[in-house]
Symmetry: C2
Amino acid sequence: MNISQTIYQDIASQIKEGQWSPGERLATEHDLSATYATSRSTVHKALDRLSQDGYIQKVQGKGSIVLDVHRLDVPMSGLVSFKELVSSLPPSQRPVTRVHELTLIEPPAWLMEKLACGAEELVWKLVRTRTFDNEAVILDTDFIRQSFVPTLTKSIAEDSVFAYFEQQLGLSIAFSQREMVAEETTAEDESFLDMHGASHLVVVRSTVYVKDAVPLQYTESRHRLDRFRFVDFARRTNG
Amino acid sequence: MNISQTIYQDIASQIKEGQWSPGERLATEHDLSATYATSRSTVHKALDRLSQDGYIQKVQGKGSIVLDVHRLDVPMSGLVSFKELVSSLPPSQRPVTRVHELTLIEPPAWLMEKLACGAEELVWKLVRTRTFDNEAVILDTDFIRQSFVPTLTKSIAEDSVFAYFEQQLGLSIAFSQREMVAEETTAEDESFLDMHGASHLVVVRSTVYVKDAVPLQYTESRHRLDRFRFVDFARRTNG
DNA sequence: CAGTGGTCTAGACCACAAA
DNA sequence: TTGTGGTCTAGACCACTGC
């Protein structure tokens, strides 16, 4: 763990645990560099990230002000896997994941373009529903390149494919591009989800990349409108 | 303008203009520091931001790889005002903004909480619709603290309130918190928007803060489903 | 092995806030 | 005026890539 990361984690958890009240000022960068026996640049970098992530607000000439962080809602911004997201919920509210299809397919043309792969390369097709309160409300379809993920099982798919990628396969995710739109309900939505006659749902389409900007996975996640929620934090950057 | 910002802008515009193909490698940080007659740290910071914003992917031991940036869609991520967002569209597709209400009100309790203001402080209520292709599809309601914005006129509201805040009042926005959900159509939506009987819309609620984490404005933006679109880029952070 | 980015240092000067 | 964060420097060592 970096010095910078350590400082970030320390202060972030202090703020999350309520050791700082909103409006209070953190120790100065100068003092923190002494506390952690490091240079001010290193402290500066840590506080920069805290500011980017909404924990503090830095004010030149004044100091670093602790913000109100009851944004424990759904931190869907950033790269958070479904499993991580779910583990922040109380057990009674956790969803059930059901695997409906797990097959190797030959990618159609549109998918070959999304995944930048050839026709000879097989792709895992994974269809899952997420059930909350006995109602299936999210339909996820993943397409994963077999050249990166040779084997995939139902039990992995019921748990977390990302955890499997990172911990078992050593595949580390570099970044993702995501798009959200609302679309009309299809027959497939009707058959997998408890739609109660709703005419639309929110569709999140994303491509996940490993390093070197190589596409690993393309996912379409269809959410029933009343179960959709997205929270975001945007800062005005200095540099 | 910073050295770091200059480097960022230079390379970002080169990539946007297509001077680099996806997959190409930028000059090394060492070479760039010579080119811009600066230190490697400064170049490093600039490339870090390019990587955060999805222009490049940095790979240790290898270099900085240019990514595919046809994410010219709607860069709603980050702090982009409606006016900035619109100016990226061709004139034929630009919306018409109509001001329906511009009044000073006494804030109700829920709003006093959102804006952290007292009952004696008046608040501007601004109701606007955005019309695309002769259809009103977005209904925006803004609540703005009069203590920060003493005067507000219809012509400013038809243009851009953010530009007015920053350029005329010297109020600089520090950050914003935003939430998106889908909700049922109300009678007010029906009266202001061309809903064509749609039962739901996407509601984006946001609070905009100036420095010191002081709330300036609370906004509710209601989008007809078929006109809603959100694009996002998430990187896996290193530090 | 050489070359790359990742991190860190010890110090400098500047812009801004508060007294 | 003092103290804060913002930026930058010149250099160092490390981790990783690719030959």
